[in-house]
Amino acid sequence: MTTATLETPAFATGNAIPFGRLLRVELRKMVDTRAGKWLLGVIGLLTAAALVILLLAASTQEHTFANAVGAAATPQGILLPVLGILLITQEWGQRTGMVTFTLEPHRAKVLWAKVAAAVVLGVAAMVLALALAAVVAAIGGAADPWAGMDAGVIGQYFLLEVVGVVGGLVFGLLFLNTAAAIVVSFALPIVFSVVTSLWNAVHKAQPWIDPATAQGPLQSGDHLTSTEWQHLLTTTLIWVVVPFVVGLWRVLRTEVK
């Protein structure tokens, strides 16, 4: 510490912490723990593994860019939400929130930095998937490896990943508990499929209320129809936007223990 006399404190001086700095801190928090490192490593490995399986198991003509992106996106779609969950719940589970929210008492700003970090991680995972898929397409030997892919379809994949990881974050925010958030996040699609198979009325409404069903077309390789966009919008509102607002409201008002 400095040996100079501490000056008369002028507490109102100095700049607020810039958002970009909080974003970098949040990104770092995802890679500086074992859980985070493992999760990111497993996402990378499974993405690569899905592509290797495609190369080995599928016929040469199926080694297209479109198929490869689809194969890579599947394990990511499962694991990215967990990444989103951990972004939130580590602050409560490990009680680091006490430090985080003392250094930046504007909790909403911290939570938005976490959302931004989730988006960055989702986009980064998709970029990795695209890069690996391009390699598969280049070496796979299909007659027309680049067919069936355009900017719109790629954009839909990015949207899928981002909605997935932010959706996970929202579950984390709602439960503030890793185990509960992960269980609910994985159980939800199963519950929907069971309920809809037994109950016809719900079956009809399913694309409007079941996020997994509504997000399915994003990785179909076709452009979404206007009805499908409405499904996506509605389920995102129900399962991402509303719970985020509720979770945010609660975190802003309650004590950080």
Binding site: M1, F11, N15
Partner: protein
């Protein structure tokens, strides 16, 4: 400067903090003393905005904590040394905080040196730290932003005697350079040796506050005589309220000279007459907090 003004916080029917007001001045170490569960931690959590108060306010340098831009640069906080991610290294914990505050990595090295965590220890996961090491890391964390105010909740917890001695020196020096230090403890001795000012809290209420000298003075007089029974009568005759002490003698609230006169008038031979000092402060602490403690202190001495 920390100013707490008529602060109250209720959890259901339980008043954790009840109309608490005090000031911690710059250049002084203020000890926040009370038994466990007296409301020290809740008060400190309100100060840094982690707990919303029901009424009243706490300001630092005249501002609400949330209104201080980049507060880590002004206020160093250690509320719970164990509230760190067990999977991060000590260095990483400081690195994240330095990054948030916009400080260079060299500051992390400086702080690690200051609290005597060597390179190897700094690389270990916090989960593998002893409580003493966590406490040192927490102090490094609090000092990282070179703040002018320190808020430390039970900072001596888990430190060995050498560590406690080191921390005392550190905080003394910090205050002598104009810094404001508020530290809490449930141990009187800990606060007594370092604090300039003391705030004593019991069951959410402030029960005493002032400079250490003032509180010492109010601790009264200790007196022993050749014949304690005779002394007891003499004191009663002079209308001096006296409490018998277990190993003989009495403690009174009046000055030694008053006790001396009463004894002389009645021809009682005194063997000891002195201001109650540290023992008295302890007595004071016990008395002030006795009805607010979970366990009642054992009644002292046989009734005279």
């Amino acid at each position: 400067m920390i100013r707490v003004d008529r602060l109250s916080k209720t959890y259901g029917p339980y008043r954790a903090v009840d109309d608490v007001s005090f000031v911690a001045e710059p250049g002084r170490v203020t000890g926040f003393l009370g038994p466990n569960g007296a409301g020290k931690s809740t008060t400190m959590r309100v100060m840094v905005g982690l707990t919303p108060p029901d009424s009243g306010s706490a300001t630092i340098g005249g501002l609400r904590y949330a209104d201080i831009p980049n507060p880590g640069r002004h206020v160093g906080v250690l509320l719970d040394a164990s509230a760190q991610h067990a999977g991060r290294s000590g260095r990483e914990v400081l690195h994240l905080a330095a990054m948030t505050m916009g400080l260079p990595e060299s500051r992390v090295d400086e702080m690690l040196r200051l609290v005597s965590l060597d390179e190897k220890e700094a690389k270990r996961r916090v989960g593998a730290y002893s409580l003493g090491m966590r406490q040192r890391l927490g102090i490094a964390h609090a000092l990282l932003g070179d703040p002018s105010v320190l808020i430390l909740d039970e900072p001596a917890n888990g430190l060995d005697p050498a560590g406690i001695h080191w921390m005392r020196g550190l905080l003394r020096d910090y205050a002598s350079r104009g810094g404001t230090v508020l530290l809490s403890s449930h141990l009187l001795h800990e606060v007594e040796v370092i604090a300039d000012d003391m705030v004593v809290i019991g069951r959410g209420k402030i029960v005493a506050q002032g400079t250490k000298a003032e509180l010492l003075r109010s601790a009264g007089t200790l007196v022993r005589a050749e014949d304690d029974a005779l002394l007891g009568k003499a004191l009663a005759g002079a209308d001096i309220t006296a409490t018998p002490i277990a190993d003989g003698g009495f403690r009174t609230e009046v000055d030694p000279v008053v006790v001396g006169r009463a004894a002389a008038t009645n021809g009682v031979v005194l063997t000891e007459l002195r201001p109650a000092e540290s023992a008295g402060l302890e007595q004071l602490f016990l008395e002030l907090t006795s009805d607010t403690q979970r366990e009642q202190p054992v009644q002292e001495g046989p009734q005279a």
